[in-house]
Symmetry: C2
Subunit: 333 residues, 2 copies
DNA sequence: ATAGCTTCTGAAAAGGTTTTCATCTAGTGA
DNA sequence: TCACTAGATGAAAACCTTTTCAGAAGCTAT
């Protein structure tokens, strides 16, 4: 591998000068600059990132932490982040977490050895030590889909509770009063969306029926399917179901059709997220849209802004969720 | 940040000894070893990866290159790779490519500056310089979903052509003789699957009708939808459609139902890939299964094996594709 | 002629690790 | 007692950059 020294030797200058040329510093005679540049091109020389990171004490890398699941929602979010992070001149380093406390600890250890310039969290982690560590180290960070009041990290998210309310409200407005809920056991958004469901019911004087709620261990279609199957088996009459995420909703629709029930004729289904695929199910999934792409962009912007211009205290970017009407909800009567 | 020198000072030994302890080398008195270990734990010290990469000339990072698209198929593949790469002790570094020649050139430049230990390519890149560079540098590599005979890189893939044949054959066996094809313009697999389609027709003496083929510029549901719409508009009678990927098939089903055509009663649809979601569409998508998870694992294993034990010449791992029967294909008569 | 700037350049240090080489100590066998 | 070996340790070099500092050269103003 050719190094800066080779270029220096070939150009008859010192490594310092080559470095100055490469980093577009002043104080290099234009004639020398040109000679160096020519040799660089000729030799196909590229700076060694590792050595650069070493001396600069920065890696030009942003970590993106995704706990446990890597579903369609996160794929879209991640793709968006990666795109804008690259535009800002940063590489993206993935951190998939697995489902365990030891995984979060392992992540923390790993984090300490990593020279990241910043970090984005998708979904909330259980281990508070991680946030505390980030705080102490002063690592630029952005939270995506949740916030952490006590730390005042910049965050981008929708009003989870209000968005769920919006979905259930939509159902109620269309005459539904026996509404099932399928949500996941994990993550703050699952709880918040459940709260939103309850709040909407309460606002319309509909008593909360525990038998209409089912909590599943994941947020994928398969979990939605088994959740819906459970609900059907309970024989609690219902005319509609709110699934806490679109993937859950897609699984629910599958379970309904497997059970000979038509959507939306027999049971209406509404989701939350509006992932790509929701526009392509049959029937098209009525859902609440989270502006995923924009949220990914904003998260990227926030970390980069912190890096470039220093920390801004307690900045939260709230996105609004909106109903997307497709064909999976029927108006009663 | 505490460094190895701090630990050395605290333990009253030299950095060399600490390094030996950390890397589990011999020639350290067990008493000293324990003292160092205690201080390391106490101080929460972790090795600095950048410095380590610098001196070791390896990064413990495998690059995964994904051209242009980042769809559901690739998400699953990527998740699988990341999982097994981590098991092998490697980090995963993403390289998303955009749709242009300059993007591939930019990638090549970037690649030169990167200290990767290995690289996995998902889908074939157009720019041959990239493979030549990899070859010259002797960088361990694995190809996933395609192969490059002239370079003899280890590769894992299915027989694209034969798999497509399998799908079309399945249709023909069920009495279909006017079969549409929706495929993408780009990537070798698109062309190969088209060849498979033609071959299956030829094998059953069905003349190839160009009007039944439509080529779309992407491999996502939206492209599948517009592709199907085009096919419908052409008014060329057909009883079945082979979509080159499941995402295309999902879009095709959507277009059919939008046009008042029922699947599979009016038109049968078969895909290829068997991505997660295909089990959850209504009707369930009949498709040809590519063992995505296993292929991801194998790719990871191959690069790691090359790194650990040196290059194995021209090793190709062929996976077999199998029909997955669900509800989107009807038997005629 | 001298002092004081500006522009340009190179030597050397720094960044945090690993590894080679040299040295020292203790133990073994003659 | 004397070589010799094995075990344990530290000093220093190396990995490849960037940046600071110092010095040289050329100019301007006194």
């Amino acid at each position: 591998m050719t190094s800066i020294k080779d270029i220096a030797r070939l150009a008859g200058v010192s490594p310092s000068t080559v470095s100055r040329v490469l980093n577009e510093r002043a104080y290099v005679r234009s004639e020398v600059r040109q000679r160096v540049l020519d040799i660089v091109r000729e030799q196909g020389y590229v700076q060694n990132h590792v050595a650069r990171s070493m001396v600069l004490q920065r890696s030009f890398t942003i970590g993106v932490v995704i706990p446990y699941l890597f579903n369609m929602f996160q794929r879209q979010l991640f793709a968006s982040m990666e795109f804008f992070l690259e535009q800002h001149g940063y590489k993206t380093q993935f951190f998939f977490l697995r489902w365990s406390d030891s995984s979060e600890q392992a992540f923390l250890r790993r984090l300490k050895g990593e020279t990241l310039d910043g970090i984005i969290f998708i979904h909330e982690l259980d281990n508070p030590l991680i946030y505390r560590y980030i705080q102490e180290r002063g690592l630029p960070v952005a939270l995506c889909t949740f916030e952490k009041q006590e730390f005042g990290f910049p965050a981008v998210h929708i009003e989870e509770e209000a968005s769920a309310e919006l979905a259930v409200e939509y159902l109620i407005r269309r005459g539904h009063r026996t509404i099932g809920l399928i949500t996941g056991e994990h993550f703050s958004f699952g709880r918040q969306r459940e709260d939103g469901y309850k709040k909407a019911l309460a606002a319309h004087d509909i008593p909360y029926t525990p038998e209409l709620t089912v909590r599943v261990p994941a947020y994928n279609p398969e979990a939605g399917r088994t959740g819906m199957l459970t609900l059907i088996k309970r024989k609690q009459p219902l005319t509609a179901v709110f699934a806490a995420t679109d993937e859950l909703a897609i699984g629910a629709i599958k379970a309904l059709s497997e059970s000979g029930l038509k959507v939306p004729e027999d049971v209406s289904v509404i989701g939350l997220d509006d992932i790509d695929i929701s526009a392509f199910t049959t029937p098209g999934l009525t859902t609440v849209r989270q502006p995923i792409f924009e949220m990914g962009k904003k998260s990227a912007d926030l970390v980069c802004e912190w890096i470039a211009r220093g920390r801004m205290q307690g900045r939260t970017e709230l996105f609004t969720a909106t109903i997307v009407e497709r064909e999976s909800v029927r108006t009663l009567q």
